[in-house]
């Protein structure tokens, strides 16, 4: 669809307070009934929307497990498990038992800070990455056992984020070494290899790549970076569908000159709206522009919200629910729930 016609505005629905330090990242559960947030205060908070008041409140605080900043969190596709990655070098797995969350397992192996965690589409695999430059792949065993499938070495620096492809078991990681690496398993021999590196030579980023996200179809990827640009990548969907697994990715276009400080987060909505949050305290929205198809689809700024928070914005996440809900997390310790609604 084309959003440019209908006038849209970003409405602040609610402001969630509770964390007393930076909020680093957010995760909606698959049904978007719960929102998990993790913070420099070493805790994870679970926020729930009470159907009656339809306002959000803190359902649970997950604490006393991680001894340092909790950097990232991810719900398993089933929505039963929540994985949290922390600077204390561990990854914790939480399960909703009865009405509260219990830490059912902690994965140790990284030498130092774990920066990100991600479940694959089927929920059978879990990936983590760390400043120790390695990316680990774990397999979920019955009884909340996790078995290390493989340790991927390849990045030359701190790995900032790992993200599974929405459809296939292909793993994407982005790093302080300015590259995005794509990892695939050949056969089912447990050995994973870096099949492609998107670096400067392929019109890649020129500084730390902080985050990446896929469009629902999984044939497009957005990456954001400290170089103040957002880049769109695409791949040949046909080959990809053909189940050959991996098909090479190419640079599609670069959106620059919008944010003027590090862009920490980019997320692609089901409807194809890219939201980006940055250290300039602003949130921006980009959509594919149909005009000028001559040289492939281009992306244009649809809407921007200056001063969305008082301080850096670390994470923006679209809910999968009906009305376009967006959650944003910031250094100011708050989380905001926004609605992207047509101007009334």
């Amino acid at each position: 669809m084309d959003f440019s016609e209908e006038g849209l505005e970003l409405k602040e629905i609610q402001r969630l307070e509770g964390h007393n330090d930076k909020v680093w990242s957010l995760a909606w559960n698959p049904t978007s009934t719960l929102l998990a947030s993790c913070s420099g205060d070493k805790t994870v908070r679970i926020w729930q929307r009470s159907p009656s008041t339809s306002s959000w409140h803190c359902k649970a605080v997950l604490e006393e497990t991680h001894t340092r900043t909790v950097r990232s969190c991810a719900w398993s596709p089933s929505g039963k498990l929540l994985a949290t990655a922390s600077f204390d070098a561990t990854t914790a797995i939480w399960e909703l038992i009865g009405d509260d969350f219990e830490c059912v397992s902690t994965l140790e192996g990284h030498e130092n800070e774990v920066k990100s965690v991600s479940w694959n589409a089927s929920g059978s695999l879990l990936a983590t990455c760390s400043r120790d430059k390695s990316v680990w792949i774990w397999e979920v065993q019955p009884g909340n056992e996790f078995e290390c499938v493989s340790v991927l070495q390849g990045h030359t620096q701190d790995v900032k984020m790992v993200q599974w492809h929405p459809i296939m078991d292909v793993l994407f990681s982005c790093s302080y070494d300015n590259t995005v690496k794509i990892w695939a398993e050949d056969g089912d021999s447990d050995d994973w290899h870096c099949v492609q590196t998107l670096g400067e030579s392929n019109n890649g980023h020129t500084s730390t790549v902080w985050a990446l996200s896929f469009n629902p179809e999984g044939d497009k990827m957005v990456t954001c970076s400290d170089d103040l640009t957002v880049k769109i990548w695409d791949t040949d969907s046909i080959t990809m569908q053909a189940g050959e697994g991996y098909a090479p990715w190419k640079h599609l276009c670069t959106l620059s000159g919008y944010h003027d400080r590090t862009i920490f987060s980019a997320h692609w909505s089901r409807e194809g709206i890219i939201a980006t949050g940055a250290a300039d305290d602003a949130i921006r929205f980009f959509v594919e522009s149909k005009d000028g198809l001559v040289d492939g689809p281009l992306y244009k700024l649809m809407l921007k919200k200056e001063q969305a928070h008082d301080m850096d914005i670390n994470s923006v996440q679209w809910s999968s629910g009906e009305n376009r809900l967006l959650a944003s997390a910031s250094d100011d310790g708050t989380i905001k729930i926004w609605e992207l609604a047509s101007i009334t």
Partner: protein, 154 residues
């Protein structure tokens, strides 16, 4: 009584203190380099028993402020090309400003051009807030930093 102590904190610095200030009671005073400098001048060097000011790692000129945009840029000059402590000094600056400065200011910290063997990497590291945050949770570093910040406050 050694020679070093005799010309410790020379007059030049002392003069800088408040002379510049003529507090006008009406207008608001914008945040200016001198003010920031006053915050950070006494930070102790991790290796020497002197303040960054005394070692002229910092000077008022090395600080620029854009009050409107709320941006601060601090450039410091490590004592030696390969100063392993450059990053620690940077951390100290960050922490000090974080605690004692309005949070909404965006702070960039760099080593002055050509003053460090691997300038780029130091700069990149100091301005990666995730790395900084992690660093400050590392007890060893934390202690080092605190010593630099508090040692000569009493």
């Amino acid at each position: 009584m050694t020679l070093g102590l005799i010309n410790a904190n020379p007059v030049v610095h002392a003069k800088k203190e408040r002379v510049a200030r003529t507090e006008d009671l009406h207008g608001d005073d914008a945040v200016d380099p001198l003010e920031i400098y006053d915050f950070v001048r006494d930070i102790r060097d991790p290796e020497h028993p002197y303040s960054l000011e005394q070692l002229s790692v910092l000077s008022e000129e090395s600080i620029t402020v854009d009050e409107k945009l709320g941006r601060i840029l601090i450039t410091f000059t490590p004592t030696i090309q390969h100063c392993s402590m450059a990053t620690v000094i940077g951390l100290c600056l960050r922490v000090k400003l974080k605690h004692y400065f309005p949070p909404h200011f965006k702070v960039d910290i760099k080593v002055s051009p050509g003053s460090h063997a691997n300038e780029e990497s130091v700069n990149k590291q100091l301005n990666d807030k995730e790395r900084v945050a992690a660093a400050l949770e590392n007890p060893n570093l934390r202690q080092l930093v605190d010593e630099c910040l508090y040692s000569n406050e009493l």
